[in-house]
Subunit: 296 residues, 2 copies
């Protein structure tokens, strides 16, 4: 596929699928100490950031991903003051988190400073709040940062990582979740991108199992479309320390002091509704089974 130079194609080996975007130009290519970063200008999706051959985001539809990684969890927490973002070097999630006036401090921990620097050049619309006095950047290993962080010091952890291969793999492990559990205050919450419900139920099962093993008794997933990722359908999974994941600050969400393009109160509720197969395939690792009654 895309044998010519007019297309960028991402292959999804485990699904025998691929998706492609027509490109006008390759704007940047760089092998950093950690990974290969490419930036393309596409014909219809704006700019595209690619790391090690996998699309991280497009200018056209990243709003869905970033809004869904930030707003549901922040409105589920009563008072989200201290937030850490692990990964997320494109700064889109940081940008959404900083729209919440309740947030007092956000630490973005990305192993590769070049992602942030390139995003500031090529995706300035995501970096407009990088200078916010509440934002702090740490360019270091996310697992180590979390392991060394003071106990009970965070309200929210957002894991905005690459896939569970290569440097991102540790972020899907029991050790990492244990470090998160230790670092969260009681009632604190973790959210992590958790791949495609259609293609990667094995990864979701593993995450639920590891999160449970790390002491998170309450877990839940939300779902959203994302055209630049394999299958076009993506999930994020949450875990909460000590308390169930329940109601959200609905009035605050309705009267939010910023404009969204995807998120709203209805989307908040509906994003947590899982299809039938999801409950079945998660099995013991999962949330309580669907309350529905099957008669056939």
């Amino acid at each position: 596929m895309l044998s010519d130079e007019q297309w960028f194609t991402e292959y999804c080996e485990e699904a025998g699928s691929a998706h492609s975007f027509r490109i006008k130009a390759r704007l940047h290519e760089e092998q950093t100490r950690y990974q290969k970063i490419e930036i393309y200008e596409t014909t219809h999706f704006g700019k595209l950031m690619v790391i090690d051959g996998f699309i991280m985001l497009s200018a056209r539809d990243n709003f869905i991903y970033h809004e869904m990684l930030a707003h549901p969890i922040l409105y589920l927490h009563d008072a989200p003051r201290r937030v850490a973002i692990v990964g997320g070097g494109d700064c889109g999630t940081l940008n959404e988190v900083l729209k919440h006036p309740e947030v007092e401090q956000v630490t973005l921990i990305d192993i590769d400073e070049r992602v942030v620097q390139l995003s500031e050049v090529h995706f300035p619309e995501l970096c407009g709040r990088n200078g916010d006095s509440r934002a702090e950047f740490c360019f270091t290993n996310g697992y180590r940062w979390m392991a060394e962080a003071p106990g009970e010091s965070l309200d929210i952890i957002i894991v905005d990582s690459t896939d569970p291969i290569g440097p991102g793999e540790i972020l899907f492990s029991g050790e990492f979740y244990s470090a998160c559990e230790k670092t969260l205050k009681n009632g604190g919450m973790l959210i992590q991108q958790s791949e495609s419900p259609l293609l990667h139920m094995d990864i979701l099962q593993g995450m639920y199992r590891e999160m449970k093993g790390a002491g998170f008794s309450h877990r839940k997933s939300l779902f959203f479309p994302l055209s630049v990722y394999p299958s076009g359908w993506w999930s994020a999974s949450m875990a909460r320390k000590g308390e169930p994941i329940g109601g959200f600050r609905e009035e605050d969400a309705r009267n939010r002091p910023f404009r969204t393009r995807y998120y709203n109160v209805d989307i908040h509720r509906s994003s947590f509704c899982a299809p039938e197969f999801f409950y079945r395939e998660l099995g013991d690792a999962g949330p309580p089974a669907s309350t529905e009654v099957f008669t056939g």
Copy 2:
């Protein structure tokens, strides 16, 4: 893309995108009187049916599409007895509709008998109810069938068509919607696949406008993932004659006498929740604007 023979690629010219599936074999290729039909065996998505270069369905994920075209509308209607399916020659929608014991008659109107015949060979799992005594097949032009159908004779019309280009174009027109409006009983409902919310808001706007012009004062869209269609995110849009589109038979849906893989009561509700941009971009053509209040 897919310059070699190991992949089937569908191009979406209007979005500068493409998606591909790795194939093991081309099982069939045929130019019928109306269109070119191909059947592929893929490595990970089972069989794939392609018409005029566009993927119609895969064995792996068609359950989402067929369940969402059938069950929400049938549970929204108090007594769905007489149903017509326009298009839908793969028989997957027919198969779901016939799972509803309330349904007394379903007429499938597809212009091309070969689609049904090939589906019976290659997708037998979708054709298991083709012999049901309630099912009737008419191989003719869907618009003409609808125009000639007796007034107020149907409860539900499901338009399971190709894209609004070529033979499918008439099915997105005001004349067709007028014929549907005439054919539906009062309170009767129409649902039609309505393309990608990310890529095709112009088509959705046109459908809403034409449906309104044909006398359907109540319209609503639902959303679902679909990995074999462009962007992986799809919609279906409904119109109702004379009445608002309101509550559904929730108890019947919960106690449905068949097994689903995607649809459930929570999915029913959540599928109608639209993202913010959807309300904004539909403008006057759309449903009442989001009830949310923007303060920023």
